[in-house]
Symmetry: C2
Subunit: 309 residues, 2 copies
């Protein structure tokens, strides 16, 4: 449920199939929107086509987060960057991902005679470490290792504390002065002759801070729980049903049941599953299985947008 007064915060699916894209089920690619700023998480082949189809405003895209360097998570990048340049973009774009991302992007650019009119700021991250990426678009962003065949990072996005809002009723009731407003904004109580007005009496009730985490691709791994604990919305891969748990373990993927166990044990509020194997034509079996453990589970399907918090 969105809380009125919050900046908008949502997670949109461009594609959520594993490995091989097919019509209607493109490879992993997602748009995280916070306060009208857009961030791309993974960029499978055809991501730019889905952005056009779902009217995602590329001018608002300023950061990209790549989980790992398997093709179904990055083969949309060269085309996206090429199109941004052809469309005259001049604003820089920042991209995070495991080591090798720079070679990938720079080879693409050089081989194809690409001349970006905008700067691409590449941050290569050690895929086996945790990283505090600082404040991005008003979100505090961190990265943490997942358990996959190649170095892979999960990402967590936490809304940052906002300045305290002053209650208009309190302004009148206490006859607050301009000097006192400054104090309140700094979180200080107001002290008058023999009287202290507690900060809570003159400010609006702060809205809860919201959070989102993205975990794909990964084997079932309880070690990630501290990194994603208490998030409002968790995206966790669910490549197989649990009857294929052995295959999931062997290929370092998760089952739908395992994704639900992680969501439950991390005290997430809601779970979105995705990265389905192409063998599942009717995906409702995936949510049915997950909901036996974690009822608030939904499917990532193309074009779906989930409000966070």
């Amino acid at each position: 449920m969105p809380t009125s007064g919050h900046p908008s915060f949502s997670f949109k699916v461009l594609g959520a199939n594993s490995a091989t894209p097919i019509p209607g089920r493109f490879s992993s690619s997602f748009v995280l929107q916070y306060n009208q700023q857009l961030m791309l998480i993974d960029c499978g082949e055809g991501a730019q086509i889905k952005m056009s189809e779902f009217k995602v405003r590329r001018s608002k895209l300023n950061h990209i987060f790549i989980s790992h360097l398997h093709g179904d998570h990055i083969f949309g990048l060269p085309g996206l960057f090429s199109s941004l340049s052809l469309n005259g973009r001049v604003e820089p774009i920042t991209i995070y991902g495991p080591i090798g991302l720079r070679l990938f992007l720079e080879t693409m650019r050089d081989v194809t005679d690409g001349r970006a009119g905008h700067e691409i700021i590449i941050h290569e991250l050690d895929g086996q470490a945790t990283h505090n990426l600082g404040s991005i678009n008003g979100l505090s962003v961190s990265a943490f290792p997942l358990k996959h065949r190649v170095p892979t990072l999960g990402y967590r996005f936490d809304e940052e504390p906002r300045p305290l809002g002053i209650s208009t009723e309190a302004l009148a009731k206490y006859k607050i002065t301009i000097e006192e407003i400054k104090l309140i904004k700094d979180g200080m109580p107001i002290k008058r002759e023999g009287q202290t007005i507690p900060i809570a009496n003159v400010t609006k009730k702060p809205l809860p801070l919201r959070s989102f985490a993205y975990c794909s691709d990964t084997a079932y791994d309880p070690l990630i729980i501290p990194h994603i604990s208490g998030v409002d919305l968790l995206y966790h891969e669910a490549t197989y049903l649990h009857e294929l748990a052995d295959k999931a373990r062997e290929r370092l993927h998760s089952t739908s049941l395992e994704a639900a166990m992680i969501a439950r044990d991390a005290s997430a509020n809601e779970l979105i599953i995705g990265h389905y194997s192409g063998r599942y034509k009717d995906l409702s079996v995936m949510t049915e299985e997950a909901r036996t453990v974690f009822s608030k589970t939904q499917l990532a399907v193309e074009g779906a947008e989930f409000e966070i918090g």
Copy 2:
């Protein structure tokens, strides 16, 4: 018009937009089919998705021809090769294209931990020279330089002469012996006491040999005419209407009118135009312009398949 008895020979459009793919208008990618064998010509982003959508049998794909190393002609290759491997392909695949193709493909493979289960035979070609690529799937294939910002090759595919077919009526009429059949197959006349039976009397009328040429991307360039002369079907790019001839010249592209002039002057039988600028929403203006010069012009639209000859 197909002639009965010919092997099937067709050209199918997977995508024919220029530069930036959009829903319904993907970047350049085409399937040439001869006698049930498939060849891909260019491979823009999403080509593999269109192959699924149009039920192109990947098991029959054995050769790929790349015109040049701009992204809208090659960004579908990494995903296609990745999917072929994931689907267990073991048969080799051969790819031709300008120098730089190997670096592109090998970097893609190495960065993404790709392990092809099948051999990829890469032939890098000098983009400024002509090449006889020999016999491929029963077609004699050649490459020739186009006029573009980077080294770019056009390709021509000529049906090879087939063995002469013996007329069943002639077998009976002339009481042809097994020895004489051998002579006929070698194209020799039959000599009997005082009598020579001309080869034409004992063989079926040979079917005409068909041909196809692909020219994209290229500025208007009459120097290509000797390479494409007399083809049954010509694909020639037409990025702009002729009112933008200056822009076409500057960017080394062609106008619809120029494509038609090339088709006319090369004595092609039919013309397919494509590689349209995204500015044209209604593409019928492109054919209208071309038909003022060359009436047998058609639009390359996704999913369309044109019989050759």
